[in-house]
């Protein structure tokens, strides 16, 4: 048999047939729904009188629009009420399991998928949300789709897609002090850019990746879409199986043994050929922070804002100047020391328990600078409970952070959690686009530890001075 990539093995095992136009009809093992991208899909089904093909393989949550008030109810979020109600009604009428606002399993869809054992190695997971790629941290293919494709999966439990090309991204070297998974992926974005992955499935490899704990692998794969990638994944290993074991929807007994034996086959063959290969040595990378309005606008904390006049290409020069203007920066100045107004620790990138532990380790016994609003928003209700059991909520509260309920919050600012116009925010989320966190908001992406360092200093700061 020809040597095959991990991606190819999983894709092929889900291929029902290849269509005349060359696209593949693939089976979807788990379909996850969130409230903002599914309402119109259910309308479409109703319009055509179509049932949900596999309600048992379909799961819903409410995350994007929900209030994250520490004590919340439907009344805390009048603007989101309609979509929250619709998700509940649609799930009930089609027999879909839903983790709603009051359910202990509620949380950001990409956090609860792995957490509940819905995402398993070797599966194909579809969700109407681009960061479905997070599932790749467990060795699954997480495919983010639009609402029409949500409707398609609901009606058929399949997707019709062109087979992505393959890209291997290798991380070598020894990450330095203060360099986390978030820093690794931001560093790679700075090096390779936000379009390098377009049309590709990315496999992350190398000793640096192998050594990452599971939640850190989820962080890396989460940001695959930031490279423009269709999905990203990391080969499952013993640590993956150990992570999955015992989770509520994970296989048990004989099925567990069979599944685990199969997962052992999930690796790229030595001779397999990728369409594209990239590698980078991370040994010299400092903790990273974005300065601009795309994720490739990133530098080490000890570096300076770029100077557009030194850039030859006219289009890049203009783009960089525009980003500097939008962000209210001065070219050539160090990024460290830039005053911040808001700090957001949350999102499907960096709001799992290990992220909050890393943040609390820096926050413990210290205090948020005057005038800074700092929020910690757990990625799921389970993460919130576990963090509270470990006393992290008290550490954060005593340090002056708001301890909130689980949801997407200031990552997308589609609820009440908004960065004021002109304010500067250090965020652990994944998008620093103009206006993303509110009109004229200015976002700097960083790791949870770096976000805490900024909150304590009241300015962008080097976490290595605090650790």
């Amino acid at each position: 048999m020809a040597a095959e990539t991990l991606f190819g093995k999983i894709w092929d095992s889900h291929r029902i047939r290849t269509l005349d136009d060359g696209r593949d009809l693939i089976f979807v093992d788990r379909h996850l729904l969130q409230e903002t991208t599914s309402a119109a899909a259910f309308d479409g089904l109703a319009h055509d009188g179509r049932p949900v093909a596999q309600p048992g393989l379909t799961f819903a949550t409410q995350d994007h629009i929900v209030s994250t008030e520490p004590v919340r109810s439907l009344a805390s979020n009048p603007g989101g009420r309609e979509l929250i109600d619709l998700m509940g009604r649609n799930a009930r009428s089609h027999g879909i399991t839903m983790f709603g606002l009051d359910d202990p399993r509620q949380g950001i869809v990409h956090v609860i998928g792995p957490e509940l054992g819905l995402v398993l190695p070797g599966t194909i997971v579809a969700c109407g949300d681009s960061h479905t790629s997070t599932a790749g941290g467990l060795g699954a293919l997480g495919i983010g789709v639009g609402t029409s494709e949500v409707e398609h999966v609901l009606a058929t439990q399949t997707l019709v897609l062109p087979r992505p090309k393959t890209l291997r991204m290798r991380f070598d070297g020894r990450p330095g002090n203060g360099v986390t998974a978030k820093d690794l992926v931001l560093h790679a974005l700075g090096r390779f850019g936000i379009a390098v992955g377009t049309g590709h499935a990315i496999e992350y490899t190398g000793d640096v990746i192998r050594a990452l704990p599971l939640e850190a692998r989820l962080t890396i794969c989460n940001m695959s879409i930031e490279f423009g990638g269709r999905l990203g994944l990391i080969a499952p290993d013993d640590a993956t199986a150990a992570y999955v074991r015992g989770r509520p929807f994970a296989p048990t007994g004989r099925l567990w043994d069979e599944a685990k034996a199969y997962w052992r086959t999930l690796r790229t063959d030595d001779e397999a050929v990728f369409d594209r290969e990239l590698s980078l040595d991370v040994s010299t990378a400092a903790p990273q922070i974005t300065w601009g309005t795309t994720q490739q606008d990133v530098i080490g904390i000890d570096e300076a804002i770029p100077d557009p006049t030194t850039i030859a290409d006219l289009a890049s020069r203009r783009r960089i100047q525009a980003a500097i203007d939008y962000m209210g920066l001065t070219e050539g100045r160090p990024i460290e020391g830039l005053p911040v107004d808001v700090v957001f620790i949350g999102s499907c990138t960096n709001a799992r328990l290990s992220d909050l532990e890393a943040a609390a380790a820096i926050a413990r016994g210290r205090h948020v600078a005057p005038g800074v609003r700092a929020l910690v928003v757990p990625g799921s209700s389970a993460v919130k409970r576990e963090a509270e059991a470990k006393g992290l909520d008290r550490i954060f509260s005593e340090a002056g952070f708001e301890w909130r309920s689980a949801g997407c919050s200031m990552c997308v600012s589609i609820n009440e959690d908004i960065v004021p116009a002109g304010a500067r925010c250090v965020a652990t989320s994944n998008r620093n686009f103009e206006n993303r966190q509110g009109p004229r908001s200015r976002t700097h992406l960083a790791s949870p530890a770096m976000a805490v360092a900024a909150a304590l200093a009241g300015a962008i700061a080097d976490v290595r001075r605090l650790a």
Binding site: I194, A259, F433, P439
Partner: protein
């Protein structure tokens, strides 16, 4: 849902030749809060309106003849960012039928075709020429898209080639219902499930814990 078949488009082409126009820029999040939001009004809202909600006169879609643009000329990596299909809906509601770019982001590309919106790939030189035409042609900015012939005719008479995979062009011209097309393979799907349930029982046969 069956769509109306795509017909060739004539009209003004709005130049927006920036790279990396993301879906947050195409349709900002507040327009996603309610299923009844006016997405056509929300298209490029942060670029189109000031904080008080007034039109910003410099933005291309606030200027004649581009207020009634049917075509958008964009830079590379158009539609990057989130999966929000509302980006495609907003373009369509505004009246845009075709977007030209040297390269599209993957999810936006799929979303566009599923809404009868032509996402056509054109060389950077082609885009540059069309943009120059649109900027100088003032209120007679008359472009025509011929999907079958894969050409964009500019007001100066030049015809620029563009690329669309044949199957996507045909599906647009027929107005295919993608779900109905897939359901033609219902037997294949059922057969796959039956054999997969034996090969990977833990996928299909798992209890829902209480």
């Amino acid at each position: 849902m069956k769509r109306p078949p795509f017909e060739n488009v004539s009209g003004p082409a709005a130049p927006l030749p920036l790279a990396n126009i993301n879906t947050d820029a195409i349709i900002p999040a507040p327009y996603l809060r309610s299923p009844s939001a006016d997405l056509g009004a929300g298209l490029f809202a942060r670029l189109r309106y000031d904080d008080a909600g007034r039109e910003m006169p410099d933005f291309v879609l606030n200027r004649a003849p581009f207020r009634s643009a049917r075509i958008l000329l964009a830079g590379r990596n158009f539609g990057c960012g989130s999966s929000r299909e509302a980006a495609a809906w907003a373009l369509v509601r505004f009246g845009i039928r075709c977007v030209f770019s040297p390269a599209f982001a993957d999810i936006f590309y799929e979303n566009a075709f599923r809404n009868g919106l032509l996402a056509a790939q054109m060389s950077q030189e082609g885009i540059d020429h069309a943009v120059a035409c649109a900027q100088t042609a003032q209120d007679h900015a008359h472009f025509t898209v011929d999907l079958a012939g894969r050409t964009l005719s500019c007001p100066d008479g030049q015809q620029i080639a563009f690329d669309v995979p044949a199957f996507r062009a045909e599906a647009l011209l027929r107005g295919d219902d993608d779900i109905a097309v897939t359901l033609q393979y219902a037997d294949d799907i059922a057969a796959f499930r039956a054999s997969d349930a034996l090969a990977r029982p833990w996928i299909h046969d798992f209890g829902h814990p209480a």
